[in-house]
Amino acid sequence: MALLEVENLSVQFYTEDGVVRAVDGLSYEIERGETVGVVGESGAGKSVAALSLLRLIDDPGEIVDGSIRFRGRDVLSFSSDELRRFRGNDVAIAFQDPEAALNPVYTVGEQVAETIRAHGVASGDAARERAISLLERVGIPDAATRYSHYPHEFSGGMVQRAVLAMALSCEPDLLVLDEPTTGLDVTIQAQVLELLEELSSSFDTAIQLVTHDLGVVARRCDRVVVMYAGRAIERATVEDLFYDPSHPYTAGLMASIPRIGDGADRLPTIPGRMADPVDPPTGCPFHPRCPYAEPVCETHRPGLVDVETGEPVADATAPDHLAACHEHTGDLDGGLEYEVLIDDETTASGGGTDP
């Protein structure tokens, strides 16, 4: 039994323009202590999927289908009291835009200590002491003084650290990080990533790392789920994903990673925009942007299949290399004609998109 098993998760938002299926039949699992990346462009449904784990989807959104099991317990059937004990204690989340995620009128220390008290880990002065040591642990200098500072008195990097300290305060088994490095400058990014590595090994915390940054994925993740239009379109170990991207979207994402010294004037981009969430394209949602699209792609939606056998995987959470492209079931006449250039010394390498 994996630590977290998400099966066929579907989340809908009821908007004025129509029903948005933000997450559409998503399945994945996370083992104890492992780091799983969830990547995709903005609007792919990564953050919504992350929020669903803690049942933080607010009106007008709703989890309409699927199951979320944590250590075998069905999260979606938790009572409000069970849910309260679960949040922050078993699974903690660090949101993107950490400054907005903190309450401006309470001190940073109080907001960390509050979580500790809420779960009965410690109370009174002991909670304060623990909060200070957590702030120290995430690398906030002079933590005892910083405890009584307000969020607006922290720099961007410091506030990100404080949010991490808050998320780690009850030693959760799973830490969900929503774009933890977005908006930070590169040196701070590197520090935060190092910190994550250190913390996940010392707390033995599993991490769901939601990001659009493939560089972060390559550095930190064991396995990866690539999302497009609310669905997982490729699922693989980090090595498989980077050495053998099996969905044209993944290949496109990799091709658009800037590389120093490749002599290109312009960064390759994936043409077009993310599928309209209210009125998604028929067939494969990626076909309007896919350079290899054929008529079949417009009419038939490819399922997530094993890239070797082309067979759908019965166990939706099996740890194989899966991709949702007609290529793998032999339905594509032209095939996916990109090659992956492996450059020594670098893990990340993409393919050109020329036929």
Partner: protein, 317 residues
């Protein structure tokens, strides 16, 4: 120290406000038809020489601007003069009426917050539900009802019809049970519109705050919904309400003038109405100055309350 400096600066800025308010009132009282001398002599025909002497005695023969400056000079040394009509000391007259008005004002202010804030919270948390709709209707009714009319209806129902309260204030000290019981109706009359306003503001402010990312963080931490609302959202929502709670002071003083009249409440509002009727300029001026000072003070307190509620606002420069 910095806070004291800020307060001092605010006090200095308010000087023109006080000058403006008193100067305008001063001229308006003179623009209105009627003459204080007529009141003084009981509208009898008197010898013009006597009239002249009376005018000279009260400086009424001088030009208007000079009269104002003379009044101002005295006020600077806290000398509010005597009423030409009653011959009584203005400061003592106002001081005698002040406690009654403060009692009414504080009670109405407290009522507006005690009803407005919780009702606003309930409406915001139950956004779009029955509670929200009911409070919307109640607030609309509360704001739309003229206070003099509400006062008369309450008096008619609870005083005349049911006989639960007296129609005029009892002859008892202010701090007595009888007096406090009588104060209930004027308080409701004066506080209803304010409560409605505070409620609507609290609701919209809380609605806005509930959508802030920090609320999601608080929930994600495993805090109870109670803690999320009463600890995290409430304090942020109150920042907007505090502004209006301060402005309500002016609004309540304004309302007190009418409400005191309806309930024969022996406060400053009635004193003001009586003084205007008699062209008793020193008394009018004294009351207006006191009202202006209290509004200025209330706004200063609002600013200081901001700093307490919101750490991002600190007046340290």
């Amino acid at each position: 120290m910095s806070l004291a400096k800020y307060a001092l600066r605010r006090a200095l800025v308010s000087v023109p406000v006080l000058l403006g308010a008193t100067a305008i009132t001063f001229s308006f009282v003179y623009l209105a038809p009627g003459d204080p001398i007529d009141t003084l002599v009981g509208f009898d025909a008197v010898d013009p020489a006597v009239e002249e002497a009376l005018r000279a005695e009260h400086n009424l023969d001088r030009p208007l601007w000079e009269q104002y400056l003379l009044w101002l000079r005295d006020v600077l040394v806290l000398e509010f003069g005597t009423s030409p009509i009653t011959g009584r000391d203005v400061a003592a007259t106002i001081a005698g009426r002040l406690p009654a008005t403060i009692a009414l004002g504080v009670a109405a202010w407290a009522l507006s917050l005690l009803i407005g804030v919780p009702a606003g919270i309930v409406a915001a948390v139950n956004y779009g539900e029955l509670e929200d709709e009911l409070s919307r209707v109640a607030a609309l009714a509360g704001i739309a009802t003229p206070n003099f009319w509400l006062g008369l209806v309450l008096l008619f129902v609870f005083g005349v019809h049911l006989g639960w309260v007296r129609v005029t204030p009892p002859d008892a000290p202010l701090a007595s049970l009888e007096m406090l019981w009588f104060l209930v109706l004027p308080t409701i009359t004066l506080g209803t519109a304010s409560a409605a306003l505070v409620m609507r503001l609290m609701r919209s402010s809380m609605r806005r705050e509930l959508n802030e990312p920090y609320v999601r963080t608080a929930r994600a931490k495993g805090l109870s919904e109670r803690t999320v609302i009463y600890k995290h959202v409430l304090r942020n929502s109150l920042i907007a309400v505090v502004t209006v709670a301060g402005l309500q002071v002016a609004f309540l003083v304004d309302g007190a003038v009418v409400v005191e009249q309806v309930f024969s409440w022996p406060g400053m509002g009635r004193l003001l109405v009586e003084a205007v009727g008699r062209r008793d300029v020193p008394v009018v001026q004294g009351v207006v100055l006191l009202i202006a000072v209290s509004v200025v003070l209330a706004n200063l307190l609002v600013d200081l309350a901001y700093a307490v509620l919101d750490p991002r606002i600190r007046y340290d420069r």
